[in-house]
Every structure is written in C-alpha cells, then in structure tokens.
Symmetry: C2
Subunit: 238 residues, 2 copies
C-alpha cells in the first residue's frame, strides 16, 4: 500500500523524487568505525592531514560526510585515531617478528638473510624487522600515515603523539629486539628512507630511470618486486 508519508518536515523539503535514497548498508557502529579508520588511513596517507577532507574519507568509506564527523567528533580526532591504529599495527608487526624468532619459528627465513651482517640475535632481528617493515608497504597506507604524522608536528596534538609514537618504536627496537642505540638509529634511518622513497612515488618511475632503479634495488633488495607490484596496483586503484 502506498501509505501516508510521514511528512513532519519543518522547513525545507528533503526532496529528490522519493525513489532513490542510496542509504549505505546498516553495519554495527564498532565495525563501521574500523571501516572508516581504514579508509581514513588511506586518504590521510595519500594527502596528509591538512590536504585531506572528511568528505574524501566518507566517500572512501562509502558513507556520508556527516556520519564520519559525528562518529569521530572532529577531523583531528579522526586523524589521531588513524594514527594510533597505524602505530599499533607497526608495533605489533615488530613484536610478532621478535616473538616468532624467540620461539624458533623462523628457521626457514633465517636461511635467506645476509650472512655478512652477522648471526647474533640483534643482527638477525634487525634484518627480519626490516622485512616486516617492507611488508607493511603492501598494507595500504600504514607507513605513509605515520610519515604524514611526522611532518605535521606543528599541530600540537598530532606532534605530541608523533613524538611519543616514534620514541615507542625506538624503545621497542632497542629494548625488545636488543639493538644498540647506534644500530637502532641505523635501522630507523633505513625505515625513514623507505618512507621517503614511497612518498615521492619512486617506484612509479622504476622502469624509466636508471638512477631510481639503482636506488630502489639498493634500498629494498628482496622486497622490491613486492613494492613494485603494490605500486602498480595502487596506481590502478587511485
């Protein structure tokens, strides 16, 4: 039955033609939250904090912009939560490697490491964590999300979390993996270089530039094919 439309509207008619509403699928708030955070991570990673809009995040998450804002209050809060999520994923990835190593579950992977780098626990863990780090490039945006936070230090709230988060990583590498301060520094430095190469999208010109090719091979080693594949996939999607 074409029943009575509850027309309780106050001022403006919601309009259109009453047929298409395109309401997104109903999903429990907790799950929707995670979907938004995942979408936000991709958007913020690509365009930075100031360069992203809540509408871009909403579109990426397949919902409306007001819903994003209502769920997180402000764009800044959304960024901070996406940042925490990315930070947590990185910490988890490193800790998983350490735990697996100490449990002796990585016998296979150990054969593929560079023997010249040493065979102690810190030296091997350093190489294994570097691999885990490169693997995160595939997981859309985690590393660039962190990178974007690092250059948004002028925003007080973001800067504070970025500092804390970076020191967290440093302490993890130093205390839990057992690297010396100098080795920890070198490890982080390699990570920042990788972030930069990803940030300037160097993989996109890998085939066209000999220098880019050399630098990427030298930096990513065995993980280069995977990164190149991820780069191409992202270009198709973007």
């Amino acid at each position: 039955m074409s029943s009575v439309v509850k027309k309780t509207m106050g001022t403006g008619a919601p309009g259109t033609d009453s047929s298409s509403q395109a309401t997104a699928e109903r999903i429990p708030a907790a799950k929707r939250r995670e979907l938004i955070l995942e979408a936000a991570t991709g958007v913020f990673a690509e365009r930075g904090y100031a360069g992203s809009t809540t509408d871009q995040v909403a579109k990426a998450a397949g919902i409306s912009q007001p819903y994003v804002v209502r769920m997180f209050g402000t764009k800044e809060t959304l960024f901070l939560e996406a940042l925490d999520r990315a930070h947590g994923k990185l910490m988890r990835a490193f800790r998983d490697v350490i735990a697996a190593y100490d449990a002796g579950e990585l016998a296979e992977e150990l054969h593929h490491l560079d023997p010249a780098a040493g065979s102690g626990r810190p030296e091997q863990l350093k190489q294994l964590m570097a691999i885990a780090y490169a693997d995160l490039v595939e997981d859309r945006g985690i590393l660039m999300m962190l990178m974007q936070a690092f250059v948004a230090g002028h925003e007080p709230a973001i800067g504070a979390r970025a500092r804390e988060g970076f020191l967290d990583i440093y302490r993890l590498v130093r205390d839990e993996a057992g690297l010396s301060p100098e080795t920890s520094r070198d490890f982080l430095a390699q990570g920042m270089l990788m972030n930069t190469l990803i940030g300037i999208r160097l993989p996109e010109i890998y085939e066209q530039d000999e220098t880019a090719e050399e630098l990427l091979e030298c930096t990513l080693r065995s993980k280069l094919p995977m990164v190149l594949k991820a780069s191409k996939a992202q270009r198709r999607a973007g």
Copy 2:
C-alpha cells in the same frame, strides 16, 4: 594643504579613515621575490603545502596577500619555486664541501672526524657532508621544505620535482663525492632520519625525555648543541 582628493572610485569606497595606509616599503620586484621565497620556505616548511595559506606567507613577508599571488601566479608555483630554491641550496652546500675538500682547504676539519669511519675520500666526504647537512637545520626551514615536498607526492607537479630533486642529490653523492650506492643509501637514510626528528620536534623535549636525549645524541653527535639552540630560537620566534 588639504588638497582635493582624487576621488575616481568606481563602486565601493576604499574607506578606513584616510590616515593609516601602512604600505610596505617599496622594494624592487627581484629583491621582493627573494624575500617572499624566504618567507614561503619558512611557512611551507612548518605547515606543509596544503596546510599553508598565501596569506600566512604574505604576513611573514610583510606584504599583502594579493601581491604574493600576483607575483607567483598560484600557490603551487610559489611552492615549486621555494622547493627549487631549497634544493639548490642543499646541492650547493654539498658541492662547496666537495670543492673545499679537493682544494685541501679542510685540514682543520679533518682532525675532528671519526677516524674509525675510514680515511679515504668517500668516507671523509660522507662525514663532512653530514656536518654540512646538519648545519642547514639552522638555515630556517630548508630541510623541512624538502621534506614537505617528499610527502606531497600526490600533487602531480610537486611529486615530479620531488622525485627529480631526490635523484639529483643521490647522483651528487654517488658521482661527485664518489660514494658507493650502498654508502650513498646509508647517507641519505641518515638525512631522512634527521629530517624526521626535526619534523616531530624532538629537540623540544630533549631535556624532558631520556629516550629522546639518547636518540638525538646518537643521531646528531657534535651538531646537537647547535640544533638544540636553533630549536629554542625557533620556539621563541614561532
């Protein structure tokens, strides 16, 4: 004499009270250009491309916003010119070190280098260039300007220049300083780590956090006092 005011105005009266005009000092366009670029470098370095406004640049340069826009056309062009300027300064700084070294003008500085790192030309140049790099932290914003370009890769024009610029630096280090690809990579990596530590403003919490202290000392070595001083000065100014 309170002569006749040439009131040729078309529509709206320019208004105010006819007394305060506050017109900036008249300066030749070429000189003004450089002043704007210097101001823009500071603003972009601090807030990034998307996070900066042409008005902030104008205020920093002591002129009006329309003048900034008219002189550079668009905000993007302004950013690109500031980027080129920063890139040029970095290249110049490295080349000056190499030239001075090859001319034998750095006998004094060589005594302060780490002997354990080796005494060949590449090894010594690597250390000298690292010092020159750290010195640029003082020169307000050069390094962060570059860093901001590195994370703005999604802007097509900026991304292209960032890629070219980064490869320029790599080639300079490899071909002109004579570092191997692996050593060049490590050199760049240390630079990116320094950028990151500056970006998250770690020097600001140097006194309050033991971890921050250790990481900064380990990364900046002899240049730490200078960076700390620059950090404090910037905080007073900002």
